[in-house]
Each structure stands twice: as C-alpha cells, then as structure tokens.
C-alpha cells in the first residue's frame, strides 16, 4: 500500500518539474482533443445552423435524434469506430487502429452531435430575433446561415469549449481505438486508468491535477467569453 501523502508529493513534483513523460501525454491529449473539436466544429456548426433555419417535415425528429446523440456513451462510440477501423472492417485498409488518428475520429464522432445540437439551439434563438429583418432584406438561406453563425460567435465559442471539455475528459472511446500504447496513443485519461490499476498513483494523480486544471480553465474561459460578450452587448 502506497502512502497517499507521498503520492501527492511525487505528483506535484512531476508537474512542477515538467516531467517529459508527463508532458508527452499531455501534449498528445491536447493534440487529439483539439483536432477533434476543430473537425466537430467544421461539421457541427453548419449542420446546427442549417437545422436551425430550415423547415422540413422530419425536422422535429431530427432534432430529437441529435439531442439524443449528445449523450452517446463514449465506449459505444469507441466500439463502433473500432469495428470500422479493424482489419475486417470497412475502413480496415487504412490501418488506423491504435493510432492518434483513430482517437481523433472517435472523439470527433463523439462530440460532433454535441456541437451541432448546441449550435442549433443557439442559432435558432438568435434567428427568432433576426428572421423578420432577414426576410425584409431578401436574404438567401446561405446568407442567413453565415450571418447567424458570425453573430452567435461568442456563444458558439463556448459550445466549442464544451465539446473540448467533453473530449479531453473521456476515456471510453480513446482507450478502445487507441489502445493506450506508451509513447504512441497514451493520453491523460487512459494513462490515469492504467497507472491507477497498476498502483502508480503519483503519475495518475499528476495527470488528474492537469485534467482538473484544464476543466477549470475551460470554465473560466467560458465565463470570460460571456462577460466580454455582454460588455459589448454581443451576447
């Protein structure tokens, strides 16, 4: 049984001395999750905006589906992507399993619905205010969509941050498609899971501290964005 106090001391030491192994894991985590967020925004924002202003028969059902997909269990996403990428799967030919790319794909699938659904909500709210003015200006759907996305920019940044927060903290999807391979696909969450089960509490705690700090920073950033937005009356 390891001494908890000693574990904490070692954890702080790892963080404060910027231990190279620790850094490698953090950098990979950030790279995977930030890339996944970027792709999710690229897909999810236009999708959400289109859904916000379009009117068609299946729309309510689609919105319900999208909202339900927000709660996709990461392990299920991991499993599905695993099946797609494994040698027998339709995308097996690309040999992506157990690479950071596979992890990016899995996290993108996981958070695109979140970005799209939240974006739909934000943009629809804004559109209810702008719709008549836009109609008066004879704007096309495409013009309306891009104007709305721009005017919702502060809210959408917080949507992106929410997606990032979810991606960086999930473990189920990346551990299945990434495999937690040292120096290759080991990210913060998978490392914590592994090191804890191995009894190496110091590294696990150090990573936990970093994750907590990231979560705090994301929330602080969201708060600051909200304040900036309302200061300029852009909220």
């Amino acid at each position: 049984m390891q001494d908890f106090g000693e574990a904490f001391r070692l954890a702080f030491q790892l963080v404060l001395t910027a231990d190279p192994d620790l850094l490698e894991i953090i950098v990979l985590s950030l790279r995977v999750s930030l890339t996944a967020v970027a792709f999710s925004c690229l897909i999810g924002l236009p999708l959400g905006a289109a859904l916000a202003i379009a009117r068609f028969p299946g729309r309510p059902a689609l919105i319900i589906l999208l909202n339900a997909l927000m709660g996709l269990p990461p392990v299920v996403v991991g499993l599905l992507i695993y099946l797609m990428l494994s040698n027998a799967g339709p995308l097996g030919w690309f040999q992506l399993l157990y690479t950071p790319t596979a992890m990016i794909i899995a996290q993108t699938v996981l958070i695109t619905p979140i970005v799209a659904a939240l974006c739909r909500e934000v943009v629809e709210q804004l559109y209810s205010e702008y719709a008549e003015q836009f109609r008066s200006l004879c704007m096309t759907r495409r013009q309306a969509m891009s104007a709305l996305l721009w005017d919702a920019r502060y809210s959408l940044l917080t949507v992106g941050l929410a997606g990032f927060g979810r991606a960086v903290a999930e473990v189920g999807a990346v551990i299945i498609v990434g495999g937690n391979i040292d120096h290759l696909t080991r990210v913060m969450t998978t490392a914590i899971a592994l090191e804890t089960s191995k009894g190496n509490l110091a590294l696990a705690l150090a990573l936990g501290l970093v994750l907590l700090t990231i979560a705090l920073s994301v929330n602080a950033a969201v708060m600051m964005l909200r304040m900036t937005a309302s200061r300029y009356a852009y909220a």
Binding site: E129, Y130, E132, Q133, R135, S136, L137, C138, M139, Q143, A147, W150, D151, Y232, A233, Y234, A235
Partner: protein
Amino acid sequence: MTTPAPDASKPRIGGEVRGLVYRAGGANRIDGIDLALPKSSLTVVLGPNGAGKSLLLRLMHGLLEPAAGEILWDGKRLDERMRVRQAMVFQRPVLLRRSVGANIRFVLRLRGKATLEAVDSLLAEVGLEQLADQPARQLSGGEQQRLALARALALKPAVLFMDEPTASLDPAATASIESIVKRAHERGAKVIFVTHDLGQARRLADDIVFLNRGRLVEHTPAERFFDQPDSRQARQYLSGKLILD
C-alpha cells in the same frame, strides 16, 4: 453633412391592395382592404392600437401572406424583384451583434456594393459617423433607430416602410428620424409611415390612411383629414375619444 444627390434613376413606385384579408387567431385581422397609394406622396397610416397598421405594412412588404386579395406595386404583383427595392424599419430595431459600421457594410455587401465611402456617407446622413466602431447594440434607443434607418437607406429603397419607428424615442431623436425620412422622401422614395402620434402625422403626412379594426375607414389628403375628416371614427379619434365600434 453630406447629402447624396437625388436618385433620378429610381422613380417612385405606387402601391395598391385589392380585397386584402389576413387571418390570425381565428379572426380577420385585416378585413377586406382596398387601397391605392399614390407614387409621389408621403403616406401616413393612422389608427388606434390593434387596428392592423403593422399587419398592413408587413403584408404590403411581403413579410406575411394574405389569406385573400392582391398586392400590387407599379401595377405588378409583389414578388422578390420588387421586394429587394423595398426596405422596412421596425418599431424595435433589429441590429446585428457587430459594430455600427459593420451593420451598414453587411447590407451593402448583400447588394454587392460595399465601399468605405458608402458606409461613411450613410452614417453621416444619420449623424452616426463618430460612432462607427461602437458595438451597435450599445447605442441609445434613438441612435439604434437612426442606424436601422441608415441601413434601410443603404438599400436605396424605392419604397420605405416605417412601423412606428419613434414610438419609444424622445423628442430630439424623433425630430432627427423625421427629418431623415423627409429627406429620403424628397429624394424619391415612396414612404409609408405608421404612427399613432397625431402630431407626427400632421408633421409628415401628404395623405392619411386611417384604419380601425382591420378595415380601411378612410384615405384622405392630410389637410382634409385633420380639418374635416369624412368618417365619424376619424372625428372621434382626432378629438381624443376612444373608438368603441
């Protein structure tokens, strides 16, 4: 203040509605209106709250679909080609979450003619040139409405609809809006101005469209309307009585 030259290429457009009906909430809110608005006049639409003034304006601008009847501009049915030549200022201005200048650039770009000079001269026209870089939604109510008006003028509209644009403004802001609208009219825009402020109607109107309960009560030249209106309802309204029928 720079005043752009009169826009001679854009002759005024006259409007006409025939048998116009609009239904909402199980009732005819616009109830069979026939009306012909002359090209050259500044038309003021008057009537008590709930008379259907805003609905009439929205219908004539194509923001709402009538249940029955026709809307003609220059003798032709209202279509998108006519609608791009119209602009509307709403009672509560809807401004983009951008700077004052960006709000103008936005509509100029929609029509494919955004230039710096155009933005500057439009802002100067409404006296907002000093505020170009301010966030639009931080402006005072009067400034916001002037910006909304500048944005409407940026479209070089042949028809300018105004729906009680000064209802919540102080006298100075109101005067400023009125003089901008008059200038736009002098330069050739057909103006249709909704108000329930009698003083404002007297100051602006060439002709008065008087509505009550979704019906046209009378359409008369302004002088006659204020001196000896045709209808009993208008007389009641002018003498400050409530019209109960």
